[in-house]
């Protein structure tokens, strides 16, 4: 496939009909399971991710690992066999999922007030049900929701988003799989959108320094937009739960 393919038409629409600064449709739900302490499901376009949180609980497998000043965040990333167009057995712990697990852990550690739980451990499991570009951001966003559902104190939302360059010039947001394949380098950013802190940044290929600023700015804007959407979902969820017990009705 040619690298020159126009990712944004002259009319300003992307291949799937979005404009450059538009996210894919996000649908999410908190508390999808009863067994874990917290759980969430998120759809970003066709990328679908489930997250479950257990803990905080005592460190398993010997106290030697435990930290006296903070909790251990343990992340497990996996992909369902049917998540990509080609069915493939994906053993746990292959290089890609180990790397993604570590990146996920890095992003979550920045947001969780882990100092409140010394000698404890928090387990976060994410499973990609369908992959259509932007797997990592969807995992971060799902994990954030699951942590909130579990009632674990966070400094603020941690959100992630991708951005890239279309036609080698126009920065665009939230890259789909099709655009990943056809397009150039993708920048993935995980951030604390309220304070504007970047907790993780990754590039799929080299690209020229001149472009970095505008693409990064686009990705950060994406994180902020996602935060708004997640925040709404959380409020709606809390209202729902609240309404069954009756207390929230007084407010709304």
């Amino acid at each position: 496939m040619s690298k020159n393919k126009e990712l944004i038409s002259k009319i300003g629409l992307r291949l799937d009909g979005r404009r450059a600064n538009e996210l894919r449709r996000i649908r999410c739900k908190l508390g999808v399971f009863t067994e874990p302490d917290g759980s969430a499901y998120i759809e970003q376009g066709l990328t679908k991710v489930l997250a479950a949180v257990y803990g905080p609980h005592e460190v398993r497998g010997g106290r030697s690992k435990a930290q006296h000043n903070s909790a251990i965040i343990n992340c497990q990333f996996s992909m369902a066999v049917f998540s990509t167009t080609e069915r493939k057995k994906r053993p746990r712990g292959d290089r890609k999922s180990t790397e993604l697990s570590m990146h996920l852990q890095q992003a979550l550690e920045a947001a969780i007030k882990s100092e409140l739980y010394p000698f404890c451990q928090i387990d976060v499991y994410v499973e990609v049900l369908h992959a259509d570009g932007g797997i990592y951001p969807a995992c971060v966003n799902a994990a954030t929701l699951a942590l909130i559902d579990a009632g674990i104190p966070l400094k603020e939302y941690v959100c992630a988003c991708t951005a890239s360059l279309a036609n080698n010039d126009i920065p665009m947001l939230d890259i789909s799989h099709q655009e990943e394949v056809l397009g150039g380098p993708t920048l993935t950013v995980a951030a604390l959108p309220m304070s504007g802190k970047i907790v993780l940044m990754e590039m799929s290929q080299r690209f020229h320094l001149d472009h970095l600023d505008k693409v990064l700015e686009k990705a950060l804007q994406g994180c902020k937009d996602i935060k708004e959407i997640l925040d709404n979902a959380v409020r709606l969820h809390v209202t729902d739960i609240g309404s069954s017990t009756g207390w929230a009705n007084t407010k709304h």
């Binding site: 690298k3 020159n4 038409s9 002259k10 009319i11 629409l13 799937d16 009909g17 979005r18 894919r24 449709r25 376009g45 066709l46 167009t85 080609e86 259509d132 080698n168 789909s176 099709q178 690209f207 020229h208 001149d210 472009h211």
Partner: protein, 957 residues
């Protein structure tokens, strides 16, 4: 606002994959019609003031086009008559998928505001998007989308009229049933006011034959039959190459077969046109024949007559078949893809009425039937015509007139033809490009001085061919230390004026090179830069990029540095003037000293370079003296070379090599370099053979050996022999090409002709784009400029190199074609005896080289296809014998030169032998009074007053 597109795709390894993609439906896409009050105003070129005038509709109306109209009738759309056209996104996508060139033409019309086109993104609009049904074919689905948009527009704006133009009868029928006004483009145009231009350009795709006519050609097989045939090996797919000499013969090059497949006759060629991708059926072995050796010219004059063609087919069958030369033979049974383009040519005379025959100048293309109402005018013109279709009942393909280039035989027309046929971009620079030029008066500011090394005090001068206005390079040399020298090569700083990504940069990148025709120069950058601000003229302060070496007396480089500078050249010399300055012992000014120093060092450099195995090649380069008033060539001669030519060349080579090393060091992945591949050994066969007949052993094992054998290959009795061998050697070489360093292995960087491991182009940025890129890279290495994304992108650089290589090749061919045309013009009506040499011996002819005019012509010893009763051909010795005279390759001869202008599109030289005199064959020398002495031209005084125009010396490396 959201839907998904699901489709199943087969992967390469044969697994079935299900692909699902998102497809967003929006409510913020607007109709673009200016009178609409519901939609937000949006940038749209549609106009309420411009009105389409068609007598079928009372009011102004908007046109919506079906895909087939755009694909078939682009030349009609190019005319600024049909306007206010809505292009649906569905249609645009399909056009792009079906034909990229047409898509690009359409896109440029869409971008032009005065054409009033608007693209409506119907497939993402909430009211015009419809889902594809399960079993619906893609074509039917697209038609349905188009109709859906038409009815939406009608409902959206009941006050306006929308008309669907479609050539698809089925689509039209359904549209009419749905109440959408619809027409074919032909019916529409016939009712448009002032339509004669459009009618000429209407492509003739669907000509219905009312009267029964005999089918002249067998039918083609259907696509399905072709594909299954190719798959099961019964048929073969390949590229059709028509013979230039015989219009009833051609070859099909099939990838999987070693020999091309011969096709002959009407039914064999079956409407294949040169370049088409066709499918052939190969006959049984017993039906195979040998390629014919006769020349058959299509002399048909009328559409209907096929008697003549049948006659010629019989002639073809009769022509003798040689058993040993039998080739696989077959017939074309179908066409996979047409490669029709636009063709230059003229109308054939002698036809009345609206149907005319067009004769392309490319002899491998058949004549084309066109319909025109201005035949009398067009007969005087060179034309461009394109093919639309070739129905079975028509002897000639049907096409239409695109545009006229100018009067036949005019310099300007012929230049235009040369430029078009070699795909040289030569339109005026656009406003956008000119806007990038610096404002005049251009002054050097304090800031400029600070950023550059000020060497205005140095005694720099330039040496170029006479009349050169685009001076790229200047030099200086001064003694330093005990016996050392500082030598500087200063190159015009074009990159200072052409910034990356600007309109002027894009234009220059696309042009790639300045093209030199005999009396015309097609600049790569606008004249203000090429002949003024960048040109390092004498006495002017100019920006330069300098490469400065410290050398010892033996021209060994001790130190190299690069910097941007301000220079003031003290003088611009011609090669001849510089030579005179060096030779004039009485001159001892700094400039003369500087030139002498350069000359001395250059000689050492050259010697060393040749010792390392660099090749000295030769190809006769011709200079044409032009009359400045009438622009007619006055005289043609081979360029004279001075020592100073090679002096400048040596330092340019050295600068290029030094720069290549520097940029590769800094940018191992994306340095733009130039390589000259080692030719495969079989390329040298003609050279070795020629040497063997002379009793000379030419060693071609490596460049060094070749250079050495060429140096030794001399015979005192024939001083021109060595040059002839070098001309032959030049023809064995491959083209040198640009490449990005990261794309090849280090060993492949080698430059064979120069015998250096690394080379690039740095010294001519005014006329070559590659040099601009090299300047930008070099500027980064010395901190004078910063990088930009495309400069460091290996992929982009590779694409750029491909364009540069293509354009350079075409520019070279165009230059040669221009020289050939002007040489012809010069010889028109003249008869001259000239010195020449035999280049090759053929069975029935001698290939003669006439060094004075750089001409290579054929001297026929017998009519084509016949054997001579005077000459005796000895294949073993490669000689022709007549009586007691024997002619070998490289023998000097005297020939009479004249021009045969019977075919105005293909003039050619005719040679007659003057000496050695052979009874019954040679002609008597021309009378003393008519003879032109090459040393003392009679019109010398007159000539000096005429300006000279030059084919600029395009350095071979």
């Amino acid at each position: 606002m959201f839907t998904t597109k699901a489709f199943i795709k087969k992967s390469k390894i044969g697994h079935f994959l299900k692909n699902v993609r998102e497809h967003y439906i929006r409510d913020d896409i607007f109709c673009g019609v200016p009178s609409c009050e519901t939609c937000h105003p949006v940038e749209s070129h549609l106009s309420s003031t411009y009105k389409n005038v068609c007598c079928l509709f009372k009011y102004n109306h908007y046109l919506i086009l079906d895909t087939n109209v755009i694909l078939d009738q682009m030349d009609v759309l190019d005319e600024p008559i049909l306007e206010n056209i809505i292009i649906l996104h569905t249609v645009l996508k399909e056009v792009k998928h079906r034909s990229l060139p047409i898509y690009k033409r359409l896109q440029s019309i869409i971008d032009n505001p005065s054409r009033h086109f608007y693209v409506f993104t119907n497939d993402h609009h909430k009211d015009t998007y419809v889902k594809q049904d399960d079993k619906e074919l893609i074509n039917d689905y697209n038609d349905r989308l188009i109709r859906k948009s038409c009815s939406w527009y009608m409902k959206h704006l009941p006050g306006e009229i929308f008309v669907l133009l479609s050539n698809d009868a089925k689509n039209r029928a359904i549209a009419l049933a749905e109440g959408i006004p619809t027409l074919t483009i032909k019916d529409y145009i016939e009712s448009v006011k002032d339509n004669s231009v459009l009618l000429d350009k209407l492509a003739k795709k669907d000509i219905h034959v009312e009267t029964y006519t005999k089918d002249i050609f067998p039918p083609h097989l259907s696509n399905v039959e072709l594909l299954t045939g190719v798959k099961n090996g019964k048929l073969h797919q390949g590229t059709f190459r028509a013979s230039k000499d015989n219009f009833l013969e051609g070859f099909v090059n099939v990838d999987s077969l070693e020999d091309p497949v011969l096709v002959q006759g009407r039914s064999g060629l079956n409407r294949a046109v040169n370049g088409d991708i066709v499918v052939v059926e190969i006959f049984d072995k017993k039906e195979w024949v040998s390629p014919s050796d006769i020349v058959l010219e299509d002399e048909g004059v009328a559409e209907e007559g096929i008697d003549e063609i049948e006659l010629k087919e019989r002639e073809l069958k009769r022509s003798k078949k040689i058993k040993e030369e039998i080739k696989p033979t077959g017939k074309v049974v179908g066409i996979i893809r047409r490669k029709w383009r636009q063709y230059c040519g003229i109308l054939q005379g002698g036809m009345d009425g609206v149907y005319q025959l067009f004769v392309p100048s490319d002899r491998s293309i058949p004549k084309i039937r066109i319909e025109t109402r201005q035949a009398d005018f067009l007969r005087t013109q060179k034309l461009i015509v394109t093919i639309d279709s070739w129905p079975r009942h028509s002897r000639y393909p049907h096409g239409h007139f695109v545009r006229a280039l100018g009067k036949i035989g005019d310099q300007t027309t012929e230049n235009e033809v040369v430029l078009l046929e070699h795909d040289v971009p030569h339109s005026q620079f656009s406003e956008e490009v000119l806007a990038c030029l610096p404002k005049l008066p251009w002054i050097i500011t304090e800031k400029d001085v600070k950023k550059r090394v000020d060497i205005r005090h140095l005694d720099i001068c330039s040496v170029d061919p006479p009349g050169c206005t685009d001076i790229d390079d200047a030099l200086h040399c001064r003694p330093i230390g005990n016996d050392g020298f500082e030598v500087g090569v200063h190159i015009a700083d074009v990159a200072h004026f052409i910034r990356p990504g600007t309109a002027i940069d894009k234009e220059a990148a696309s042009r790639a090179t300045t093209v030199y025709l005999v009396n015309k120069r097609i600049d790569m950058v606008p004249e203000l830069l090429s002949s003024n601000l960048c040109s390092l003229r004498g006495g002017e302060e100019r920006f330069a990029f300098s490469c400065v070496w410290e050398m010892d007396a033996n021209a060994n480089i001790l130190n190299t540095r690069f910097h941007k500078s301000i220079i003031k050249s003290k003088a611009s010399f011609t090669y001849e003037e510089a030579q005179m300055t060096i030779d004039d012992k009485s001159k001892n000014d700094p400039i003369a000293m500087s030139l002498r120093g350069l000359n001395k060092l250059a000689k050492i450099l050259k010697k060393r370079r040749l010792e390392n195995g660099a090749l000295v090649l030769a190809s006769p380069e011709v200079k044409i003296h032009m009359d400045s008033e009438t622009m007619e060539p006055l005289d043609v001669e081979v360029k004279k070379l001075f020592e100073t030519n090679s002096m400048v060349e040596e330092f340019m080579l050295l600068a290029n090599i030094s720069v290549a090393e520097k940029i590769l060091d800094e940018f191992p992945e994306c340095a733009m370099l130039r390589r000259h591949p080692t030719p495969p050994s079989t390329n040298f066969d003609p050279l070795i053979k020629a040497g063997r007949h002379l009793g000379l052993d030419i060693n071609v094992e490596c460049g060094k050996n070749l250079a050495q054998s060429l140096d030794e290959a001399t015979k005192p009795e024939n001083p021109y022999l060595n040059t002839m061998l070098r001309i032959l050697a030049t023809r064995c070489m491959l083209q040198a090409v640009y490449f990005a360093s990261g794309t090849l292995q280090k060993e492949e960087y080698y430059h064979y002709g120069l015998a250096v491991p690394l080379y690039t182009h740095f010294t001519s940025p005014i006329r070559r784009y590659a040099d601009i890129i090299v300047h930008r890279l070099l500027a980064v290495t010395c901190g004078a400029d910063s990088t930009y994304p495309d400069l460091l992108d290996k992929q982009k650089s590779t694409e750029l190199c491909q364009n540069l290589n293509y354009r350079n090749r075409m520019a070279q061919y165009a230059g040669r074609a221009s020289v050939a045309f002007n040489t012809h013009l010069f010889f028109k009506g003249k008869l001259q005896d000239e010195e020449g040499y035999v280049l090759h011996i053929r069975k029935n002819a001698l290939q003669i080289l006439i060094p004075k005019y750089g001409l290579e012509c054929t001297l026929y010893l017998a009519k084509k296809g016949e054997s001579s009763n005077i000459f005796e051909y000895n294949e073993e010795e490669q000689s022709q014998k007549a009586g007691n005279i024997t002619l070998h390759a490289f023998d000097p001869v005297k020939v009479r030169l004249s021009l045969d202008s019977n075919n105005i599109q293909h003039e050619k030289f005719v040679l007659q032998l003057v000496s050695p005199y052979i009874e019954g064959f040679s002609v008597q020398p021309l009378g003393e009074s008519m003879e032109v002495d090459p040393d003392k031209p009679a019109s010398e005084k007159k000539r000096k007053s005429k300006s000279e125009s030059h084919v600029k010396n395009k350095k071979k490396n």
